[in-house]
Symmetry: C2
Subunit: 211 residues, 2 copies
């Protein structure tokens, strides 16, 4: 089972590494980071470099496609190599997954038309114009498409996907090995319950966060 | 504020990238991945390479030290360059932090003697022989030392540390930007409540997981 995780400049590191660290532990998984060019790919902060060990052409038909988000997403919205690869890879994939603004790339490639999907809460108005049906849930499964809300939701997506692929017991064993029993010290992870002033402050910085 | 995240061969990616993706968003933070040699450092699965952009010598006195865990930890337990760097860096640090088996490296360097600390649940018998006081909690703060339980606990540690460094409002804003409102699809993240058969299966594979 080949799992391809897409990298592009100004991706968000946790969007890619959260799912990687779950899915790479599936039995029989071969996980590969792919990008237009091989070599280190810089994240949106500028201080993290993750290596793409394969080009898009090297991995034409992965079984699982994972698309992270990050401010660099909109550069990839042109009808270029990444979009072409997404379309071809998706024709063969068993699962096509995204985290955060990664779902906008999938939708932009026409893969989520008429499908229920989610994205980062600050981007929730972007899915409908791209043909998807926005759903304000943390993880959304529609057929073979599984999309996650912002950044850390990729972990919950990955455990859900691990269970679908390999069964509950395997997913639970990975969860226990990763001690994924989260206890956030603050209750501010969703606009539904974060302090109003903080929600408003992030909305005011929306473009700086999303692009 | 300089934040140094240690890398070494066969580290666990999420141990490093979880805290990175939180702490690198602190105002005024300069986050740098350090290792004995600069360049890509391979994780424990063998398919992820994160770039160390600085050597240990390049970053002698960071304000914050973060030590990830991973099966490669025990290779670093010798009295070599990494241990020497940990001791020197800790003399100057404001905070010294670890995730998972990273606390064993701190304890091995003599930094947790008589301190309360935590680690991966499968390694909980390793701290006392190294002089620390093991505590079965997800995040433990003792003075300037903050240690996290296994892998994903690094996220909860990082948000706790972000709050101590920059205040609750900043930590909450980062939490909301990362949409850290976890909803694990399974309730198996702790040996306290995971299915017994899965706990036993991991205990049987303990050495393969820890080393």
């Amino acid at each position: 089972m080949q799992i391809a995780i897409l990298l592009y400049e100004r991706f968000t590191a946790l969007d890619a590494v959260g799912p990687y660290d779950v899915l790479s532990h599936l039995p029989g998984a071969e996980t590969v980071f792919v990008a237009q060019r091989p070599g280190p790919v810089v994240n949106e902060v500028g201080s993290l470099h993750l290596t793409a060990t394969a080009t898009l052409a090297d991995v034409p038909t992965p079984d699982v496609v994972v698309v992270p988000g990050g401010p660099g997403w909109h550069v990839q919205m042109i009808d270029g190599p990444v979009r072409q690869w997404l379309r071809t890879a998706d024709e063969h994939s068993t699962w096509t997954a995204s985290v955060c603004s990664g779902s906008l790339l999938l939708a932009g490639a026409g893969l989520l038309t008429g499908r229920r999907a989610t994205t980062h809460w600050l981007a929730d108005d972007q899915l409908a114009p791209l043909g998807a049906i926005p759903v304000a849930e943390r993880v959304v499964v529609d057929g073979k498409y599984i999309t996650a809300a912002g950044v850390s939701a990729g972990l919950d997506m990955a455990f859900t996907l691990a269970g679908r692929i390999a069964g509950d017991a395997v997913a639970q064993a990975i969860q226990l090995a990763h001690e994924y029993d989260p206890r956030p010290p603050y209750h501010a992870g969703s606009p539904d319950h974060a302090p109003r002033a903080i929600v408003d402050a992030l909305r005011a910085r929306r473009n700086a966060i999303l692009y």
